[in-house]
Subunit: 237 residues, 2 copies
DNA sequence: ACCTGAACACCGTTCAAGT
DNA sequence: ACCTGAACACCGTTCAAGT
């Protein structure tokens, strides 16, 4: 029995880079997108060009165009790749209540966005069309319907959670699209001078996680008020 | 008596373009930004370049650099100009309740964003630093404090409304950052086939205004639950 | 003070060509 | 089938120069 760790785990017939010439894996749509996403995450969206991506891949920039028709298609692939990171265990026992299902989705989305801050403008801009999100939508409509929400309400709730999460991620993560903004200290000084009560409130410190959770729970609480007292338990009063 | 309509209404000593040579107003930071914003709104952000802006202004592209150090500064000016459109009548009678104050702010922000959809990535990306928004924050903290919210809660509420509004505007308005997305029909077909319950819910039609209002009120309702029963009116069970 | 124009180091993409 | 390389029409920005 072979007991070393690498016994075929990386795929059945994947060639090692021992005998073959190329140090890089064979070019493919997936590998190009994976490499591009790494570039975006490490160097920033501004440093992603077809030419630099080609260089990173060790290939003529035009080789990319064999797999992707243009830069926009590359962007689509990147967004797709980000959404694909959302893993909602569709049959998980954890989400037996509609509320925990929605909370899990929202937090997961936020976590994934947090891994790719420079992707935010692209993600926010492209209509949601990913199986991960659509599949979740299907499930949410069913589960929310079972406790008394209408289809419209269910959709609205999911959409509001999604848009809130994206909006909050922007506020939290996004570097200004081009260059850095005025320093925190400068801003703080102006606020302290002109907006004293606001300054007091800010003095508590900005806690994005706490704020996000507050908004998330508030949104859920607010929608819950809309729900008719369903379930077979009698609608007394 | 001179009765024609144009009797000086356009400003005290503004030169007509009769005797003077330039057809355009004198170049200035404000005029450059105003022109750029019009280009963004009518032709799209992708069509805004320093060179095209120069052409639009009837001027060598490099002339712009006398007023703005670089394109990033132009972007800053554009975001500033958008925020400046937010007009909250700070002493309006309409906003005697904290809730109507917040609703007015959120709806106004949404309206302004709706006028400049292509500005969304820039707006969402830049930290809020505008007098309109900061001034509103100050007021909100005071007014919310008066009814029992802590400074932290007030800030969180304002921030959550703002981020929700921005996120929702993205979902509603944004053209994909580069090129158009797959057509509505294509998407609908796929959804109908694979996500039947979701399709039923969508069949009701997407009503962004209704959805936004639902989310807005839900967020407010949810935060209201956090508020201790303040006001001098007795806290009887 | 305000604007011009050439020049530099980049882009995305087309197209013909190589293997 | 897969990749290369020259070429085209763009960019933002620097820098020296004009008035």
């Amino acid at each position: 029995m072979i007991r070393n760790a690498a016994n075929g785990l990386s795929g059945p017939s994947e060639p090692r880079d021992s005998a073959r010439r190329p140090v890089r894996p064979a070019l493919s749509r997936d590998f190009i997108i994976k490499t591009a996403l790494e570039m975006v995450d490490t160097r920033g969206i501004g440093q992603l060009s077809m030419r630099k991506l080609g260089a990173e891949l060790g290939v003529d920039p035009m080789a990319i165009y064999y797999y992707l028709p243009n830069k926009q298609a590359l962007f689509d692939g990147l967004v797709e790749a980000v959404y694909a990171e959302i893993q909602i265990d569709v049959d998980g026992e954890a989400s037996d209540s509609w509320r925990s299902t929605l909370v899990a989705f929202a937090r997961q989305l936020r976590t994934v966005l947090g891994r790719h801050p420079d992707m935010l403008p692209m993600v926010a801009t492209r209509p949601v069309f990913s199986p991960a999100v659509l599949g979740f939508g299907e499930r949410a409509v069913v589960q929310l319907g079972a406790v008394g929400f209408t289809g419209q309400q269910a959709l609205q709730l999911v959409n509001c959670l999604r848009t809130f999460t994206v909006g909050h991620a922007f506020a939290e993560l996004s570097e200004p699209v081009g260059a850095p903004a005025p320093s925190q200290d400068e801003v703080a000084a102006v606020i302290a001078e002109r907006y004293p009560k606001l300054a007091d409130a800010i003095a508590g410190g900005y806690q994005p996680d706490v704020e996000y959770e507050a908004g998330l729970q508030a949104m859920l609480d607010g929608f819950e008020l809309l729900r008719p007292p369903a379930g077979e338990a009698g609608p007394g009063s």
